[in-house]
């Protein structure tokens, strides 16, 4: 699987990656900044994400909504923040490429004059409403926050939630927000991918023209704390839910590290859909759960392997736990069947293919080029990435299970309000901020 591209680094450090796809008269402009909530400090969390909001509110030469000119041009526009990075993208008709570049370069180079106390305060309220909508008011919504806090020590950058701790957001000052921008938002800390109905030489010329005169600084030091050992913990949350749910979580390898692809395949075999071992065991045969999934979510500094199952009415979490642990132990004991592994590989390959049908958006070709460039220093890592899965042997899957999953890990029970007794025995109330 190859996505042809041209990669050029401007003198100010900005990576420019161009991929031509003339199928549709559109172009995707996609920028990644190497900053996420992992770059924050305890007590000052939520800034990376708050920033993503402020980036749409105007810059020095267009001190107004970024959505307006792009929507008028027929563009689609969005951004997102994770622990590791922040991305921004537009998909526009080809004729609006320069508009998108003008806007992206203006907010990269000239944002601060437009970031006022007023905008900061309004967007802080918007972000707190986002937190209520996406986490606090959603069933099981606080589970991911509780898990991060149980899995990582308070000093580790994956301990705190990307959305931020409300008290920190209230404590942050405009000056701190400005400092955050100066430190992380510059060409040397960014990667620009452009994919679509364009001519590569023309795009490189335009990139130089729009971004070339922005002052570059050195790449910001990235912290690389070692992956902490998986702690052993049993915690619980009460929530407005109908059915108790169990989360089992372990530390695991980060992006592209040894064992990452193996655990991905193992997750597929254990909990990827209706024929997976856990669905079959818990939902189809024993009928003690109404759903179950397993997932290896890798990130830059470390990954998390998780199994999540919701109890069927009248069934208890301890029973789910016993069955899941038995299946995990089996993975550490036996290699998967040859055809089971083959099937998982096919599914991974198919997902790759389906994701790359579009030039833009989250997960499309431009986003993927930037992901590989940011995490592997090689935008063309597609083939290598896929090859990891093709190489992974049954023995390697078993070894990865033994290396990473052969400890109790963190068990989080989410139970209906007032029904703590339905959590796993000896669970402490989870810390959630």
């Amino acid at each position: 699987m190859e996505i042809p591209f041209t990669h050029h680094t401007l003198p100010n450090g900005l990576d420019v990656i161009v991929h031509e796809d003339h199928g549709t008269p559109i172009v995707a402009v996609n920028i990644w900044y190497r900053v996420g909530s992992k770059n924050e400090q305890p007590g000052l969390t939520g800034l990376a994400h708050l920033f993503e909001h402020l980036m749409f509110e105007g810059s020095a030469h267009h001190d107004d909504k970024y959505f307006a000119p792009l929507q008028e041009a027929g563009g689609q526009i969005n951004g997102s923040t994770t622990a590791d990075r922040t991305n921004y993208w537009e998909v526009v008709p080809t004729g609006a490429l320069e508009l998108a570049l003008w806007l992206e370069s203006d907010r990269m180079g000239f944002l601060l004059p437009a970031v006022t106390e007023d905008k900061f305060k309004t967007q802080r309220e918007v972000v707190l409403n986002e937190r209520r909508q996406v986490y606090e008011n959603r069933p099981y919504g606080m589970a991911s926050i509780a898990l991060s806090q149980a899995l990582y020590p308070p000093t580790h950058p994956y301990h705190w939630p990307t959305i931020g701790v409300p008290a920190d957001l209230y404590a942050a000052t405009l000056a701190e927000v400005h400092d955050f921008f100066r430190r992380y938002y510059h060409p040397g800390n960014a990667s620009l991918a452009i994919a679509g109905d364009v001519d590569t030489d023309e795009v490189l010329r335009l990139a130089e023209q729009y971004f070339g005169d922005l002052p570059g600084r050195d790449l910001v030091d990235q912290r690389h704390p070692p992956i902490p050992a998986t702690p052993e913990a049993r915690v619980l949350l009460e929530d407005r839910v109908e059915l108790p749910r169990l989360y089992l979580a372990w530390q695991s390898p980060g992006f592209f590290a040894p064992g990452d692809a193996e655990l991905d395949l193992l997750a597929e075999i254990l909990g990827g859909g209706k024929i997976s071992r856990l669905y079959r065991g818990l939902v189809y045969e024993r009928r003690i759960a109404v759903d179950v999934v397993a997932v290896q979510s890798s990130r830059q500094l470390a990954g998390t392997f998780q199994v999540v199952a919701t109890a069927a009415p009248g069934c208890d979490l301890a029973e789910l736990e016993a069955h899941i642990r038995e299946e995990i132990a089996r993975c550490a004991r036996e290699e998967p069947a040859v055809d089971e592994l083959e099937r998982a590989r096919t599914q991974v390959e198919a997902e790759f293919t389906y994701r790359l049908q579009t030039v833009g958006g989250f997960g499309g070709k431009s986003d993927q080029l930037n992901a590989y460039n940011t995490y592997c220093n090689n935008p063309g890592y597609f083939g290598e990435d896929l090859a990891r899965y093709q190489r992974a042997s049954g023995g390697a899957l078993r070894a990865a299970a033994t290396r990473w999953l052969d400890v109790p890990g963190v068990a989080l029970s989410v139970v209906p309000v007032g029904e703590r007794a339905r959590a796993l025995p000896e669970s402490a109330v989870a810390e959630v901020s």
Binding site: G23, T24, P25, I26, A60, H61, K65, F67, Q71, E72, A73, G74, G75, Q76, V91, P93, G95, A96, E98, L99, W102, F110, T122, E125, V126, V127, L128, N129, E130, R132, Q133, V134, E136, N137, R138, E208, Q209, G212, D213, V241, E242, G273, K274, I275, V283, Y284, R287, V290, T310, A312, P313, E342, R343, T346, Q347, A350, E351, Y354, Q357, T358
Partner: protein, 455 residues
């Protein structure tokens, strides 16, 4: 080389994009449409049956969705595990969607296994086992899902809102059903629904990919059951929603209590028009201006000016019978009453005192027309677009006429449809919130809030 930052570049007007028209074939009453697409790796298969949740009998809400859920739970004598194993080995991904007017199965497959995928899809749709063991298992899962929805504020809001809007019309029934209706639906009813409705009405197959038409057509013909070699697509009218919806005499303001809720979920809306309305383009332009885009009046007001919400969006649904215009948002609890008042105020303004200005109108129209090319990038997008043509019997020229039709919508048209359809006095409001902390809802002038029945 530096650039002039005092002036934003003006985008060139995008070239017109033609919708890739399907090659249309008929096999008896069944329509088989193939569309050539340059993507060599993927083939998308859509099986659309124009029967959806509106076909649920009044006391059997959830029947259509129950049957659809059972389709891949075992077919042609194979078990659920066998059926899904077969799909997984091909890397094919099945999505089953039950809308009010149609049941649509979409199978995204790798090109190299497209013909096998089509055969598998044919079995799933035409020969489900519908055995009692499978039914019992799936029933339990569906009842659990209904119960889980009680703690999902958006699901509570939708359910109460559609009931408030449609009353006893089929669109007012919960598509998932209730614990009660799911308990009552028996094997005979499930089999009957499958036989008479899903197989009793000719489907449309839409196949999009790089394969030759003849090969796709031939493969499709082979998976069709004999039932469809004769017959009439119009048979579906017996099963679909009445085209007229009676005005409901129910409350304007309904509250679903959610004590301790971190936010209030709101739905504000009314009935508009059906899929054949001549006001289609005027309505979507009006929607874009009032709440359908990020820079719409409502989002700029509630999110960008006041910070009450993470976002507010409006949409208009065009169905076989008149669909709703709906404002959808979650707002901070102490701003519940103020947010509803602002929403009603904005709806009043756009239909009268503050009509859309030239800039706003241009922005609304351009957001719909200039990005049109994006809608047909992937095989799946093209398949879905073609499916809409088939479901609502739209003319072949529908997508090619779209841009000029939107461009022809003038400001007075927007004012007219806003006043005609979106007047605040027509709006029904559903609030899912902590009743003790929302403030005085009665001051909205919508009457006393009425408690929604528990679900």
């Amino acid at each position: 080389m530096s650039i002039d930052r005092s002036q934003m570049p003006r985008p060139a007007r995008p070239a017109a994009v033609r919708f890739p028209m399907p090659n249309k074939h008929r096999c008896g009453a069944t329509r088989i449409w193939t569309v050539a697409h340059r993507d060599q790796a993927v083939v998308v298969l859509v099986w659309m049956i124009p029967v959806g949740s509106a076909a649920d009998p009044a006391d059997r809400a959830g029947l259509a969705a129950f049957v659809a859920d059972l389709l891949d739970e075992g077919s042609a004598g194979r078990t659920m595990l066998d059926v899904n194993e077969r799909l997984a080995r091909m890397g094919a991904q099945l999505d089953t969607e039950v809308g009010v007017d149609a049941t649509v199965l979409t199978l995204v497959s790798l090109a190299r296994t497209a013909f096998d995928a089509l055969a598998a899809l044919g079995e799933i749709v035409c020969q489900p086992n519908l055995e009692s063991g499978e039914i019992a298992r799936v029933r339990t899962l569906r009842v659990s899902r209904v119960r889980q929805m009680r703690s999902v504020p958006g699901a509570l809001a939708d359910r109460a809102f559609y009931k408030q809007l449609y009353g006893s019309h089929p669109y007012g029934q919960p598509p998932l059903g209730t614990e009660d209706t799911l308990a009552r639906i028996d094997q005979e009813e499930l089999r009957g629904f499958h036989r008479e409705r899903l197989l009793g009405v000719a489907p449309t197959l839409v196949l999009v990919g790089d394969h030759p038409h003849d090969a796709l057509l031939d493969a499709a013909t082979r998976v069709l059951p004999a039932t469809f070699t004769e017959g009439d697509t119009n048979g579906r009218d017996a099963w679909t929603a009445p085209r007229v919806v009676d005005e409901q005499a129910c409350a304007r303001l309904v509250i679903v209590p959610r004590p301790g809720a971190a936010q209030s979920d709101l739905r504000v809306g009314t009935l508009t028009a059906d899929r054949t309305t001549r006001d289609y383009h005027s309505l979507i332009v009006t929607n874009a201006a009032v709440g359908g885009t990020f820079v719409s009046r409502l989002n700029l007001n509630l999110r960008e000016r006041r910070g009450y919400t993470y976002g507010v969006r409006t949409s208009v649904h065009f169905w076989r019978a008149p669909g709703p215009f709906v404002v959808q948002t979650s707002v901070q609890t102490d701003a519940t009453t103020a947010s509803i008042a602002e929403i009603l105020q904005e709806l009043a303004q756009i239909g009268g005192p503050r009509p859309v200005d030239t800039r706003e109108l241009g922005r609304a129209r351009d957001s719909l027309t200039r990005g049109f090319a994006r809608s047909f990038e992937t095989a799946e997008q093209i398949a879905r677009a073609a499916t809409q043509l088939a479901l609502y019997d739209l003319p072949d020229s529908w997508y090619d006429d779209f841009v000029p039709s939107v461009e022809a919508v003038e400001a007075d048209e927007v004012t007219r449809v806003a006043r005609n359809y979106l007047a605040p006095e027509k709006m029904r409001v559903t609030v899912v919130a902590d009743p003790d902390r929302v403030g005085d809802l009665a001051q909205l002038g919508l009457g006393e809030p009425v408690l929604a029945p528990p679900f």
